[in-house]
Amino acid sequence: MNLLSRSSLKRLLAALLLAGVVTLMTGAPGGYGVPAYTGLHGSFLERVSYFGLFRTQRWFLFLTLGIIAWLVSTYYQRHSLTIRRRLEPVMAIPTQVMQRRTNRWVLIGLVVIVTIFIPKLVHQQFWMYLIVEQIGVWILLALGLNVVVGFAGLLDLGFAAFYAIGAYATAWFTGVLPTPAPFNHPIPTLWCIPIGVGLAMVFGIILGIPTLRLRGDYLAIVTLGFALIIDDFVGTQSGLTGGGEGSLTVPKFAVHVGPVHYTWGISPTPYYYLCFLFVVIFLIAFTALEYSRVGRAWVAIREDEVAAESIGINPLKYKVMAFAVGAASGGFGGVLTAGLIGNINPTLFQYQVSVNVLILVIFGGMGSIWGVAIGAIIVQFVTSYLDNYQPWGYQLNDLYMYIGALLIIMMIFRPAGILPSRRRQREIQSFEVDHEGHLDEVLTGDEP
């Protein structure tokens, strides 16, 4: 194989394109206000120097990256078999270890002990807050979306809407929105949990019953539209929702039952344990759900809807159920966020948030509860690190760019996630093998 052969040059072009995209992604944000340092001043190309790619020494980075990518890909092309053969045993180690029951229980025990003692290990309040707000709550959200996407195989892009509904319901019922609380009687925040969850569920069912008869892609766009509208609505109806400022004064959680009086104050540790409790409850509940009659019905519908229907499973009923469970956990996350942060505003519930939750599910592994939980911890940790330290030219708003890229990469290389659910992985593989050579189905996918 020649380095100057046609396929090699094609690869060079691809590598350069990739390098260009990476350089743009990590570069400074564009803007007319920034002076151009490129020596293109006054020329037509000055407009082009607007892009991060063309500023200062980024040319150098771009070329180096491109050539490195080209060489690596050439090397891989030549030795792919050897590399794969050597990597395979290494990649198989984690699964081998986890297959042993004792090992699994030891690992779970270790994880539980570490999570219990995290407040003792992390001394910075800031990071404790992050762990609660960015990781704890988001594990719950991801576990909820996992029911919809992973168990039932429905793509729900409106998750942010239910999240917002939960949070705004909390603010409304505690009486901190411009609209007075129902019956002019504000209630404590903890009481809002059933209300927020219930409301989100009702919205989920109202949206689900008409749309869940549809094919997967219609469902995705309808839910996206729903999230867009809720986002718009809470942002603009300032008379109802406080508009862009939202509400700053959602009361903290408090328990007053008989002799027990406890208020969650400023310290993050009590919130951490509250979150931890909920995560454990969710983990147990969803694991039970997965192997229950309902969970098995979901698997049947996901794998073959017609066959499921023929053995007496009502697909619409079970799909709505999955949707309602997902919506409910979204609403739950919303209530919890409102109670934890104490202030809510539309930026927390932008429609893009749905994709943020989606990546947690995809990254961990659709349908695998532990995978999703661990994936959520990893992804949320990395994103909060990026957001707070902003290394390598990362800017605050760049998050969804990386998430989008990660979604594509996961779908190309590891569609079942990093810790795949075994069943899901088998499904994907058998689908791909079954449909080999059937071009029609290849192009159109599985028609439900």
């Binding site: 037509f44 219609y218 989008g404 594509i408 996961m410 779908m411």
Partner: protein, 324 residues
């Protein structure tokens, strides 16, 4: 102000300003139609909704912004210069968008197609592409801030009057360009060899491959046609409204609604649906509560859900033979 009064005053506004609303409706409608063509064509050949199509449209808009500013600077063009700039803008925006659309196909769809991935995988990777493009555009061109192209003709220029209603140049340009490009796309699909390939793949890709249709090339061509129409629409949209990273998603939902309303997979249905949705959106403006424009979005969304429930095959039905 009572509820009944609100609706009555809405109808009153429509009665007095009928032609103005009608012109705006046609203008937006032709843009929606141009974008909807892309949805419908890709749906025809691949059987799935290209979620990143709205972002393809957006890229065209930004390309036109840079082109027109590069040529014109801060001047206002006039005479033949305007005509030239409009044509150049359409050409450049169209090609950039076609390029982006092909790129999306190559990166987000083709590897999955090679592997025969299940449908959910396509949807997720398409959504990834959509968010990637949207945020990259936001990073380079700013968030939430409309950028306008240079003035290829004076803003708000009136061409002629219908009764007492001024008809703006931009409205005429949108309608003319939209019609021309749609007719061209329709001709390509209906009566050229390449178009026959597209239709063949849409009907039965396996057989068409056996008959010697190059499927990869056909799919790329489909994305190119859809992309260039969307890019041209992006340019025209930017002239009137400016362009911002989130315009893609917003217009994408409208155009998708249009494609579904007309019958997804059906090219002429996309045009019909686009015009209907444009007119509907325009005539629903007086019925927005508190004058809030997002109500148009809500009404359109309701239409989308209704169409999907009542008649998922749309008005003209699916010519490619697939049902929803």
């Amino acid at each position: 102000m009572g509820f009944a009064h609100f609706w009555l005053s809405g109808f009153d506004q429509i009665r007095t300003g009928f032609w103005a609303y009608f012109a705006v409706g046609l203008e937006n409608g032709s843009l929606y139609a141009m974008i909807a063509v892309g949805y419908t064509l890709v749906y025809g050949v691949l059987g799935l909704i290209n979620f990143a199509h709205g972002e393809v449209f957006m890229c065209g808009g930004f390309a036109a912004v840079f082109l027109t500013h590069g040529i014109l600077g801060d001047r206002v063009a006039n005479g033949w210069e305007s005509v030239f700039l409009i044509l150049a803008g359409i050409a450049i925006a169209g090609s950039v968008s076609a390029l982006v659309a092909t790129g999306v196909e190559q990166v987000a769809y083709r590897p999955l197609r090679r592997r025969n991935a299940p449908k959910l995988a396509y949807l997720i990777s398409a959504i990834g592409a959509s968010y990637f493009l949207q945020t990259l555009a936001g990073k380079e061109f700013g968030y939430g801030q409309n950028i306008f192209p240079a003035q290829v003709f004076p803003a708000g220029q009136t061409m002629f009057f219908i009764g007492k209603t001024p008809i703006h140049t931009i409205q005429v340009v949108c309608l003319v360009v939209g019609t021309a490009m749609f007719v061209a796309a329709d001709r390509i699909v209906r009566s050229t060899r390449l178009g026959r390939g597209i239709r063949a793949v849409a009907q039965d890709s396996e057989t068409s491959a056996l008959m010697g249709v190059n499927i990869d090339r056909t799919i790329t061509l489909t994305f190119i046609i859809g992309g260039s129409l969307a890019g041209a629409a992006g340019f025209l949209y930017a002239l009137q409204n400016g362009i911002v990273q989130s315009s893609g998603t917003e217009l994408g939902i409208y155009a998708f609604t249009a494609a579904v309303l007309g019958g997804i997979g059906n090219l002429r249905g996309a045009a019909l649906g686009g015009l209907l949705i444009g007119l509907f959106g325009s005539f629903s403006v007086p019925f927005a509560f508190e004058g809030n424009i997002s109500w148009t979005e809500i009404y359109t969304f309701i239409i989308l859900v209704l169409v999907l429930i009542v008649r998922p095959t749309g008005i003209l039905g699916e010519k490619s033979g697939r049902t929803a």
